[in-house]
């Protein structure tokens, strides 16, 4: 868009940018978290990436009716994998944090799933029907990793839980 700005407009936008930086700056913790994101372990090229295909947060009616779930339901997948995840608050008296309940359908069964956040990870086995559940997860960015034996085979897109 640069070529469409006049010199005066460019100068005014530059002054605005300076004012934003001074008066509503990016907090230092946010800056540090962004830098730390670059140090996250990178999956091998063979690891499949599962994009977010559905999210009841933004299409609540249709999916909620189909799922019958109380929490937010997300769907990830590729031609070989379908992963349905419900994210909900822990029940009162059960502790703090989020609960992730999932249903996984793959060509080859996955033995475990791990849920990752920026500075931690929790894992759980997947039962023969493809079901799993993890409690006590922190709110904030999360992603899921699917494992066959000890081999990471797929990761989901990051989402804010």
């Amino acid at each position: 868009m640069t070529e469409r700005h006049t010199e005066h407009e460019r100068a005014l936008l530059a002054r605005l940018a300076e004012a934003f930086d001074r008066l509503d700056p990016v907090p230092s913790a946010v800056q540090a978290a962004a830098e730390a994101a670059g140090r996250q372990p990178r999956p091998a090229p063979s690891t499949r990436w599962l994009p977010l295909l559905r999210d009841t947060a933004i299409e609540p009616l249709a999916l909620a009716l189909r799922s019958g779930a109380d929490g937010r339901v997300l769907g990830f997948g590729d031609p070989a994998t379908a992963l349905r995840v419900e994210v909900s608050d822990m029940d009162i008296g059960m502790g703090a944090g989020l609960r992730v309940t999932g249903l996984l359908s793959t060509e080859r069964p996955c033995g475990k799933v791990s849920v990752c956040w920026p500075d931690g990870v929790a894992e759980t086995p997947v039962d023969p029907l493809g079901r799993f559940e993890i409690d006590g997860l922190p709110a904030g960015p999360l992603c899921l990793r699917l494992w066959q034996a000890d081999r990471l085979v797929a990761v989901t897109a990051w989402f804010v839980g």
Partner: protein
């Protein structure tokens, strides 16, 4: 590092170069933060959106199809994450300008710039007039101008996608908003 193109930085960061990654963050974290804030997210949610956007980039960087358009990718990703968080929280409150004015008032009171008291007051007054004039603009103007201030290289299509504005509206909106800002500054006795 500042002379290296964004696409070169993206390729280097995708190969694991942490210095290149930090430079990308330095260039574009203001943009990502801005998109989250201008969607009306409070600071804690904006922090989550910003972090999730950079985590998404780290995950996708080795396979990013067009690193030349990294700024647009970041802005669009931050917008999508923001909309999801907004929907979860079911709140659509605007940016709390009272917070900003509190910061501004603090600058006036403390005179806290390195340039010294006189320079500090002048700088605060000039920034203050600009900031107050900006704060009186309609939401759509504030969103677009703030995005362009942080990433002037975005095309109309990219800026429109990042903010959910139709392609045909971006150019006229940008012109009207800049003209409105200029008029408000002139009314306040500031000549931009």
């Amino acid at each position: 590092m500042s002379r290296i193109s964004t696409s070169e930085l993206a390729r280097a960061a995708g190969a694991g170069d942490q210095a290149a990654w930090r430079e990308l963050v330095r260039r574009y974290n203001g943009l990502v933060w801005t998109v989250a804030r201008e969607h009306g997210l409070p600071a804690a949610d904006a922090a989550d959106v910003t972090q999730a956007t950079w985590l998404a980039l780290a995950q996708r960087l080795p396979r990013l199809r067009d690193p030349d358009r990294l700024a647009a990718w970041l802005a669009t990703t931050a917008r999508r994450q923001s909309l999801r968080v907004l929907a979860i929280r079911r709140r659509e409150t605007p940016l709390d300008w009272a917070d900003v004015h509190t910061v501004l008032d603090g600058i006036h009171v403390d005179g806290g710039y390195d340039a010294g008291p006189d320079g500090a007051v002048l700088a605060a007054d000039a920034d203050g007039a600009l900031w107050r004039a900006f704060g009186t603009l309609p939401d759509r103007c504030r969103q677009l101008l703030r995005l362009l201030a942080h990433a002037p290289e975005l095309s109309y299509a990219q800026a429109g996608r990042a903010l959910g504005i139709g392609l045909g509206s971006v150019g006229p909106t940008r012109s009207r908003c800049l003209a409105a800002l200029r008029r408000r500054l002139e009314s306040a006795g500031v000549h931009p």
